[in-house]
């Protein structure tokens, strides 16, 4: 029940809705008691022949008024209560999303997308049900149940109530047993269902093999077996599940039997009237739902409890990179990196002894084999990681003194794997600058050599990306990501192996245009293919986290080192690619 306490802030915040819902539910409960009572009186008056027209009209009129009142109040509580619980879901979801936007990359490495999605969907749904359905069950179960019990015991007959309720503990026991059986067989059914999923997945992955080996019938046979197992597991579920209704029906039947029998006995002794017996059986009908509501309530609260705890844990996570810098002005974009050593938690040194500067307007090339530390260096530069042994300054100030916002305003990045959102191409390019004009977008696209590709799509710049639109090649995605970064026109542009899927001719053309539009601004070029850094003012070759070679393209070619070897290799590779 403690989840209800934990949600107290929300109940306070929405006290009007909850107050209204509570009042309405109490009202419905009270009004519901009226018709059976009136019916009892009418029956009595009919039985002893004392019925009069005015009395009849008055009583039927009361029933009608109670019906109208119940109807209105039922609509009111539903809107108030469920409206409030939906609001909670909305509020939590927005809060979570906001929280997600503050988390650094490390957070996303720790948590899988599936996990985060589960928090934001299933868990929120469970909490929402606690704030809505569980509160309803509390009222229906506790309040209405008690009210009916009071009507039956105090106003009609407590011995009859005791007799009439005899079957229910028995039914309750069976429900509990069915519940346990159902839980077990349901788990089994779920497992069989996931087998079925796995089998289909496997069969589709192995389809070419199946065709090549002509083993369709073997696949089919296996599938049929697994599907049959799933079907049998479902049948086991159905076997238990189908017992609920008959059990409840039996409970109701015997309860009525006992109340009529007991009622007849009391009537015989003159301690009960026929009308009272009629009222009694009607009240008995109202007892059924509250008895189930209690079980439902416990279940909902239990689930909500666990869900809310997981959401709270998630919200309590603090980003490990503090955004405490207060420099928000434009700085002269001189970059300097002074890294003694850097290692991830409990790891070996990834970077060591790196001293390199990038004066405004220059281009720095960073090359090296896979795993040489290039990406780590870029991450430090973007302050996605930090370390006291890695001093990086922008315009003379340590990166931590700049607000993250301001840092990112200075540095535009094209990441290694381009990520496009499922909106139009234009919106994807203008992601960082939603107010950009079409002309600006096209200009950026032209520089990135993607404009010609875009206008060939069915809706040009308005073509959606992804399932509902075009499927882009890796190279096209990369070029759109470049256009996106260019549109920012930031003082520093970081291309993190952002041309890997682009052919050499296009790459050279992009670089040529880049030089023009980015005259006077800085560029950091991380790449595998050396042709991309030929014009850099300085190139550093990383090897096992340190600088192995440095200099301009021509200087490095003269040294007979890694750079020279790679250059020759890539020249030959280029020849082969061109089919020569």
């Amino acid at each position: 029940m403690s989840v209800l306490l934990k949600l107290a802030w929300f109940f306070r915040q929405e006290w009007r809705r909850y107050g209204m819902a509570s009042l309405a539910l109490v009202g419905v409960g009270l009004l519901t008691m009226i018709p059976p009572w009136m019916i009892g009186h009418i029956v009595d008056s009919l039985a002893d022949g004392t019925v009069t027209r005015p009395a009849l009209y008055r009583r039927v009129g009361t029933i009608a008024v109670a019906a109208v009142g119940s109807y209105i109040l039922r609509v009111v509580w539903r809107i108030a209560l469920f409206g409030a619980s939906f609001k909670l879901a909305n509020q939590l979801r927005r809060k979570l999303f906001m929280h997600f936007t503050l988390q650094p990359p490390g957070f996303y490495q720790k948590m899988t997308t599936g996990d985060l999605m589960a928090r934001a969907t299933n868990d929120i749904r469970a909490v929402e049900m606690t704030a809505g359905e569980a509160v309803l069950a509390l009222f229906d179960g506790a309040f209405t149940g008690l009210l009916v019990l009071v009507m039956m015991t105090v106003f009609i007959s407590w011995p009859l109530t005791l007799v009439a309720l005899i079957p229910w503990p028995i039914v309750g026991y069976f429900m509990w047993r069915f519940g346990r059986q159902l839980h077990a067989s349901f788990k089994d059914a779920q497992a069989r269902f996931s087998d079925l999923n796995d089998d289909v997945q496997e069969s589709i992955s192995a389809l070419r093999l199946t065709r090549a080996f002509g083993r369709e019938s073997a696949e089919q046979e296996q599938f049929n077996q697994i599907a049959t197992a799933a079907s049998q597991a479902n049948m086991d579920v159905a076997r238990t599940d189908s017992k609920y209704d008959p059990a409840i029906q039996l409970g109701i039947g015997f309860s009525f039997f006992l109340s009529v029998a007991g009622g007849a006995f009391l009537i015989y002794h003159g301690r009960l009237t026929l009308g009272q017996l009629t009222s009694f059986t009607l009240y008995l009908g109202y007892m059924i739902w509250p008895m189930f509501a209690i079980g439902w309530l416990l279940n909902l609260v239990e689930r909500g409890q666990a869900a809310y705890q997981r959401i709270e844990e998630l919200l309590a996570m603090k980003p490990d990179i503090a955004d405490e810098g207060n420099i928000a002005d434009s700085l002269n974009p001189d970059l300097s990196m002074n890294i003694d050593r850097f290692a991830y938690e409990n790891g070996n040194d990834i970077l060591k002894n790196i001293q390199v500067g990038l004066p405004a307007g220059h281009m720095l090339g960073i090359v090296g084999h896979t795993g040489s530390g290039k990406s780590t260096l870029v991450n430090l530069l973007l302050r996605l990681n930090e370390s006291p042994h890695a001093a990086i300054t922008l315009g003379g100030y340590p990166l931590s003194q700049l607000s993250l916002d301001n840092l990112r305003a200075h540095i535009a990045t094209v990441p290694q794997t381009p990520f496009l959102f499922s909106t139009t191409i234009a919106e994807n390019i203008a992601l960082a600058k939603p107010e950009a004009t079409q002309a600006e977008i096209e200009q950026a696209a032209k520089t990135a050599q993607i404009h010609d590709d875009i206008i060939r799509f069915p809706d040009g710049y308005q073509t959606p990306v992804g399932e509902r639109g075009v499927t882009l090649s890796g190279g096209q995605k990369q070029r759109i990501a470049i256009a996106r970064a260019l549109l920012l026109d930031a003082p520093v542009l970081v291309l993190d192996d952002a041309l890997s899927a682009v052919d050499v001719k296009t790459e050279q053309s992009i670089l040529r245009h880049l030089r023009e539009v980015r005259r006077g601004k800085s560029t950091v070029m991380v790449c595998h293919r050396l042709s991309a850094v030929e014009t850099a003012h300085e190139i550093i070759v990383l090897h096992q986290g340190g600088i192995a070679e440095r200099g301009s393209h021509n200087e490095l070619l003269k040294e007979d080192g890694w750079y020279r070897k790679t250059y020759d290799y890539q020249q030959l590779e280029q020849t082969v690619e061109e089919g020569r």
Partner: protein, 580 residues
């Protein structure tokens, strides 16, 4: 939606016997449950009000009541089981059909369809159809029969008052239809918005680094909040409609009818047209509740029905996809020489992947097909495997066009070793055997030929080693060897290796080559290889570049000319310095 519904019903009609039984049981169950209040009525009117306390007749009534309850409960259970069995049988049939159908779809279909959605068709959508049968159709049948049963029982008691209660039925039907009309768009909108929320959330989590690097956290949070809040509003609206039109309204109408009923009884009594029997009132009140419950039940299941029908229509759409064409007259090839005459081939109808590839492979020859990534060499082999139909040109084996070969003959003739070997869960022996009737010796022989025997023997359980999780406990090279062994065990007359030795160390590769060379002359061998050393010894090498044949000849011949092959060869002699 209607044709979908009737198509679904046709599946159930296969089970005439079970259906008849189910409906028979349903009639018995309904009669038994309708009998209960009637028996109480008899007790009230014939004994209780008259003060007659004859033991035997009363005991008879009691026994009849209890018997009716027990029979009712039992038949209800038996009926539910029948309906469940029919539903599960239908689902099993549907699943088997779907799976068989998927196995017969052209490979091109899988290229354009996400595997996830295909799996979902076979598993989740059919599961939703099960809910349609179990909850909706059987529920509707049960409720309709119940309502009619009660109305008939009422007409026995008092035909005039029956009509008051019967008024509920048309009102409820009109209500259901108008509810459906009004709520569907709102309901759909809420659903669409929820999908939007989830898509947005998922995408934002995946692309968070981009959002952060471009400083768009606020904009994305705003957009997310907007969708989430719209969803909230849609749900509130939905709840309002539900509140106004569903349970509360039916409860309201029920209360009004109850009033009308009592008024009717009162007036009958007052007008002295005949003294009203109290038992009749009791039974009527009871019956009226019995009519209301099914109506509420049906209304609340309408949305579920709609969702299930959407699933069903998706399933049928997949079932209606055209399968691969059946072969004409099967001819059995006497020779195994292969003639390639591909004028052009394209996956999408726009970009040619192959053009003018013509060559002949003699029986027992070893030929190699080489080329850079994207040169079309794998496509050529896919055509030979008949994964895609050759639209312009023809490939023939032993003078018989692929079109005229049945799948069975083709698979017997050709062994195909893929680049990504697919490993089934099971033992190594099972993975080599698949479903062929192979002896232990044949399996060992194949493993020896594939140079896998020693590695298998080094494992604790040898050939009985269980491979879990798609062969995660094997190295990439071992998986390829296993795939080779599996193919060799089937003693194909044509063997295709599609990059089948890419992950195998050079020592093992040499051993494999020795084994393959022993097949030379008896088995036609075609190998696609990126690693040129694999195919050095081929009788003929074909060098593809961007879909056309650039060079051909033996290794020695090709090395003598300055050209693509020689450059590729030289490139491979050096190691890529950018790789770690």
């Amino acid at each position: 939606m209607k044709p979908t519904f009737f198509r679904l019903i046709r599946y159930a009609l296969q089970y005439k016997r079970m259906l008849t039984e189910a409906f028979g049981l349903l009639l018995v169950a309904t009669t038994a449950s309708v009998l209960g209040p009637y028996l109480i009525k008899v007790f009230i009117d014939n004994f209780l009000t008259k003060g007659r306390w004859d033991m035997w007749p009363i005991l008879g009534l009691a026994v009849a009541y209890i018997a009716a309850q027990l029979i009712g409960a039992y038949t209800l259970l038996a009926k539910a089981m029948r309906f469940n069995r029919i539903a599960l049988n239908v689902i099993q049939t549907l699943r088997e059909q779907l799976f068989a159908h998927v196995l017969r779809l052209p490979i091109a279909y899988f290229d354009k369809t996400a595997t996830g959605s295909l799996i979902s068709r076979i598993t989740n959508d059919t599961e939703a159809i099960k809910d349609l049968y179990v909850n909706v159709i059987s529920g509707f049948a049960q409720n309709t029969v119940r309502i009619f049963g009660i109305l008939i029982a009422m007409s026995f008691l008092d035909a005039r008052l029956m009509w008051i209660c019967a008024a509920l039925v048309p009102i409820a039907v009109i209500l259901m239809f108008s509810y459906q009309k009004i709520s569907t768009p709102v309901f759909q909108r809420a659903r669409t918005l929820l999908t939007d929320i989830n898509t947005r959330l998922n995408e934002s989590i995946e692309g968070m680094s981009v959002i952060q690097l471009t400083n768009q956290q606020a904009a994305f949070t705003r957009a997310f909040s907007k969708t989430s809040t719209e969803h909230y509003h849609a749900r509130v609206k939905n709840t309002l409609i539900d509140g106004l039109m569903l349970r509360a309204l039916i409860d309201f109408i029920y209360a009004l009818l109850l009033g009308a009923l009592l008024l009717g009884f009162g007036i009958l009594e007052l007008s002295k047209t005949g003294a009203v029997q109290i038992g009749v009132i009791y039974a009527f009140i009871n019956y009226l509740g019995g009519v209301t419950q099914p109506l509420i039940d049906m209304t609340s299941r309408l949305n579920m029905a709609q969702q299930a029908l959407v699933s069903a229509s998706r399933v049928f759409k997949l079932l209606d996809e055209p399968e691969i064409r059946d072969k004409k007259t099967p001819c059995i090839p006497q020779r195994t020489d292969i003639q390639f005459d591909v004028n052009r081939f394209s996956y999408d109808g726009k970009k040619d992947v192959l053009q003018n590839v013509h060559f002949k492979v003699q029986k027992g020859d070893f030929i190699g097909i080489v080329g850079h990534t994207g040169s079309g060499k794998s496509t050529l082999m896919s055509l030979l495997m008949d994964f895609y139909p050759v639209t312009d040109g023809q490939i023939s084996i032993g003078g018989i066009a692929l079109d005229d070969l049945t799948d069975r003959q083709r698979t017997k003739l050709i062994g195909f070793v893929q680049q990504d070997a697919f490993i089934f869960s099971g033992t190594i022996a099972d993975n080599i055997r698949l479903e062929q009737p192979l002896s232990e010796d044949e399996i060992v022989e194949a493993a020896k030929q594939a140079q896998l025997h020693e590695a298998i023997m080094a494992m604790p359980d040898g050939y009985q080693t269980v491979l879990a999780d798609r062969g995660k406990n094997l190295s990439a090279g071992q998986r390829q060897l296993l795939s080779l062994a599996r193919t060799l065990a089937r003693k194909p007359r044509i063997l295709i290796l599609d990059e089948a030795t890419a992950n195998i160390d050079s020592h093992t590769e040499r051993l494999i080559q020795t084994s393959l060379m022993q097949l030379r002359g008896s088995v036609t061998l075609m190998a696609i290889a990126h690693r040129l050393s694999t195919v050095r010894g081929a009788d003929q090498l074909y060098v593809l570049h961007q879909g056309h044949m650039q060079q051909h000849g033996t290794h020695q011949e090709l090395m003598q000319v300055e050209g693509l092959y020689r450059h590729m060869y030289e490139l491979q002699l050096r190691a890529d310095p950018t790789a770690e």
